[in-house]
Symmetry: C2
Subunit: 130 residues, 2 copies
DNA sequence: AAAATATCGCAACAATGTTGCGATTAAATA
DNA sequence: TATTTAATCGCAACATTGTTGCGATATTTT
């Protein structure tokens, strides 16, 4: 069966995601939780949330890993084929739900998942004349 | 000035890249070098090779980082906008030099770099009826 | 050959993620 | 509601990956 339970820690993590407009790293989540639970617990909660397709993982060019809530709007099959933007100035990572790359693959590859991350300057930082 | 020197360790690392058809992680390089130099030295060599645009870095969905030789064929401006394929079975990562995504960005973003990684089954593993 | 400096080895550290296990707690059942 | 049971937690310990400082070494220039 493997029923997943609603614990206080899990609820708290979900609230953090709810409040945030950008993707969050494990460390950022831990800071916001303010010692409500152990850091190992956060790792395990993130694993469960990913398994349940409630959040998805984003690994960035510089090696940092972040997580963001899934947008379940109108897809039957749950797949993350949208792009992510990583700002080199403020280091925020946001989902670009509407940006989906088109591409042509060579034969004999079976593509199951894609990871499309763009980096540069986000609108905020672009306007702040960096 | 910062002239870069040709040392035995650097030459050995380059030979490892030359022999390999797929991208390599720091650990994989270290194993092939067989104790020829310290692991810190390998990190520093990789940094230099990246600076000199001889290799490029690929960060994978699962957080692993690999490096591959650059293909300097016929571009004036040196940019890595090609895709990479990561096999979920054999974990090999290969450059797909000819696969370049097309996409439409929202306004107000300044894109400087892209990271397009596809994962699934590579031709080898696909034929081995996994 | 001597001087200048890029590179190296080593030790020490930091960040991130994983595992095992006994204690705790949510949820199902009686 | 009280009991059961299994998912979750906390803690300690460990693994991996990457970084930094510094004195020693090796390469390049003069
Ligand atoms: Zn920004
Ligand atoms: Zn996303
Ligand atoms: Zn494969
Ligand atoms: Zn490549």
């Amino acid at each position: 069966m493997k029923t997943t339970r609603n614990t206080t820690a899990k609820t708290a993590v979900l609230e953090v995601f709810e409040k945030s407009k950008t993707a969050l790293s494990h460390t950022e989540i831990q800071k916001q939780l303010n010692g409500i639970c152990d850091r190992v617990t956060i790792y395990r909660i993130l694993d469960r949330l990913m398994n349940d397709d409630i959040i998805h993982k984003i690994s960035n060019l510089d090696g940092t890993v972040k997580y963001a809530k899934c947008n379940h709007s109108h897809q039957r099959v749950h797949i993350h084929n949208h792009a992510h933007f990583s700002c080199e100035n403020c280091h925020e990572i946001t989902c670009l739900e509407n940006v989906k790359p088109s591409y042509i693959m060579p034969h004999n590859y079976k593509v199951k998942e894609i990871n499309f991350t763009l980096s540069g300057l986000c609108p905020n930082c672009l306007n702040s004349n960096i």
